[in-house]
Symmetry: C2
Subunit: 370 residues, 2 copies
Amino acid sequence: MRPVNLYPELDTPTLVVDLDVVEANIAEMAEVARRQGVRLRPHTKTHKMPRLAHLQLAAGAAGITCAKLGEAEVMADAGCTDILIAYPLWGDLKLRRLRELRERARVRVSLDSFEVAEGLGALGRDSGSPVEILVEVDTGHHRLGLPPGRPTADLVRRIAAIAGVEVIGLLTHGGHAYRSRTPEELEVAARREGTDLVETAELCAREGITLAEISVGSTPTARHVAGVAGVTEVRPGTYVFNDAAMMRLGVATESTVAARVVSTVVSRPGPDRFVVDAGTKCLTSDGAGTPDWIVAAGRPDVHFEFLTEEHGVGRLEPSGGRPDALAIGDRLAILPSHVCPVINLFDSACGVRGGVVTETLVVAGRGKVR
Amino acid sequence: MRPVNLYPELDTPTLVVDLDVVEANIAEMAEVARRQGVRLRPHTKTHKMPRLAHLQLAAGAAGITCAKLGEAEVMADAGCTDILIAYPLWGDLKLRRLRELRERARVRVSLDSFEVAEGLGALGRDSGSPVEILVEVDTGHHRLGLPPGRPTADLVRRIAAIAGVEVIGLLTHGGHAYRSRTPEELEVAARREGTDLVETAELCAREGITLAEISVGSTPTARHVAGVAGVTEVRPGTYVFNDAAMMRLGVATESTVAARVVSTVVSRPGPDRFVVDAGTKCLTSDGAGTPDWIVAAGRPDVHFEFLTEEHGVGRLEPSGGRPDALAIGDRLAILPSHVCPVINLFDSACGVRGGVVTETLVVAGRGKVR
C-alpha cells in the first residue's frame, strides 16, 4: 500500500499523460467507428493539444471538432484542415475571424437559430462560398437546440432558404447521458441521439431537403449510437484521456485513464486526515460532492473529502490509517472527475511512457474561450 | 430591462475589472485595518496581478500573502519585498526555489507539521538566516492545522527547538465561515479565528515561547476578527473584487463587485431559455447547484440553471419572457460565484473606468500551481 515516489524529478502538482494509454484509446475508438462504418471527428476540447489531434487523424479520424473559434485557430495553425466548430458563431468580430480561418481550412459550424444562420449567410455570400452548417437538435440535454421532429424541420427549412449557407446535416450533444445511473439508461439515451436525428432528417427529406450528415456521439454514447442506422459521424472527446466520470459510467477503467495530476502530501494533521498540494486550480470543482468524484490511482484506501484552490483534503480508511500508510512527501496520482477543464488549467503536460517522461505536451488551446 | 450592449468593441466572453470599484474596495479594507490597529497583508491569489498588489501596498498594506511559491516568485519579480507564503513548502525542489526567493524578498512561510519545519530548518541553517514561520491552526475549517490549545502549543514547542527556523506566530484560515447561514453565525466563526489563536499564543507564552504575530481573517471574517484583542494581522483576498458568494454573506453588494465576465447570448431555444457563450471555462463550477450562484448584473429576471464548459444556460422569469427581453447578440455581465479561480482562467482582464476600457491587466500569476 506504500505509494511509489512517483516521478521524483518533477515538481508537483503536475499533469502527467501516459502516451501508451492515449494511443490505445485512440486506436480503440477508431476501430469502433471503422467497424460501424461511420466517420470519427474527435472533439479536441479534451486535449487542446495539436500533437494529439495529429495522432487522432493519423489513426483515421476524418477531421476534428472544436468548441470555440479560438481552439479551431490553434488547430489550423498546427495543420488541421477539416474542422467542425460545434458552436453558434455570432457577431462581426467572430465572423471576421471565421472568414480568415476558412481561407486555410474547411470549416463547418453548428447552430440552432435563424439569427446566427443569417450572419453566416452574409459571410458566405461575401466570400463567394457558402458556409456549411449543421443544425443542432435538443435530444434531452436542454442546452442548445430545438426539439427533434417538427420544430427542427421548420427551422431547417427557414435556414435552408438563406443564401450563403448550406445546411449539410443535423447535430446533437446528448450531454444528459452523462447522468445515466445504469448501463441500460445510458444505452437508451445514446440510441435516442441517433434515432431522433435520423427521424428528423427523414421528415426534412419528405419535404425536399436532403441532410447528408447525422453527427452525434460523446465518449459515453459513441459506442452505442455509432450503430444506429443513418448515423454518419461520431464526435467523442474524453475517450482520449478518460476520467473518473467515465469510470463511473462503465466506459473506462483506472488502466484506461491516461491523464493524472501527480500531487504531494504536504500535511497529515490527524491519523485519518491528509492534505495534498493539488486543489481546484489543478482539478476544478467539476463533480465535487459526489462520492469519490476524484480517485487516487492504486489507493482504494484513500478518499478525497473536499478541495479548495490549492488543497486536496482527504481521509484514509481505518485500515490505511497506520502512520506509514501515507506520509508527508508521499505522492498520489489523482484521476480527475472531468478531464477536459483540467487540461485547460495547465500550459503543458508531461508525456510519459512506462513511467518515464519522454516529451512535453503543449496545451496550445488552453484558455481559448473566444 | 433591455440590456445595454456592453463593451461592443470587445469580443466575448471576456473578463472586465472596474478599477474605480477596485480602488474603493482596497481603500475600505485598508481603513478597517487602520481603525483596528492591525496590519493588512492581502492575499493576492484573488487577483494574481502585480498591478493590483502595488495598489494594495500603496494603500498601506504591510506586505502580501501568496498561495504558492510560484505566485510569490511572480510578485517578487514585480518588486514585492515582503511576502507570506501561506502554504507548507516541502521537498528539495521547492526549498531550492525558496532559497533563491529569500535573496530578493523577506519571506515567511506557514506550516502545520514538524516534518515541513525540519526541511525549512535545514535551509535556514545552510543559508545562515533562520526561516520565519507561522504555525497554522485549525479553527474549524478542518483543512490544515492542529486544533488550538494544547495540540498546537506542543507542536510549536517541538518546532521552536529546530535550529534554522524562527516561530514568529500563529496563523489560521477560517474557511468554514464561508458556509455561515446568518450574520450572527459568521461573526461567531470570525471572532473564534482570533480568540482561538490568541488563547493558544497565551498558552505558549506561559511555557516560555513568545509569538508576536497572530495572523487571521478572510474577506467575510476580517472586519469582525480585526477587532479581537491580540490579533496583529489580517489577510483578506476576495475583497479586492468581491463576488456573488460575498454578496450572499452580506459583505458585498452588486455595486462593490468589480470583476465580471461579459458574455453574449448565442441561443434562445425557447421563450424562457437562453444560452450565453460563457461556461465553466470562464466561471468555474464553484458554487454550482446553489440558487443564483452566479448573477447577471442588473438583470433580476435572469437566472442561470447550469453551466457546461462553453455554455451558460439560463431561464428568464415569465415577466421577462417577452421576445425582446433577451435576444441573440445581447450581452450579460456575469458576477462569478467565486472570483479567485475565475481570474486564474484568463491571461488578462480589461481594466475599465466608467464603462470605458482604460488598460490591460495581466494575470501574471495565472496557473502558478507549484
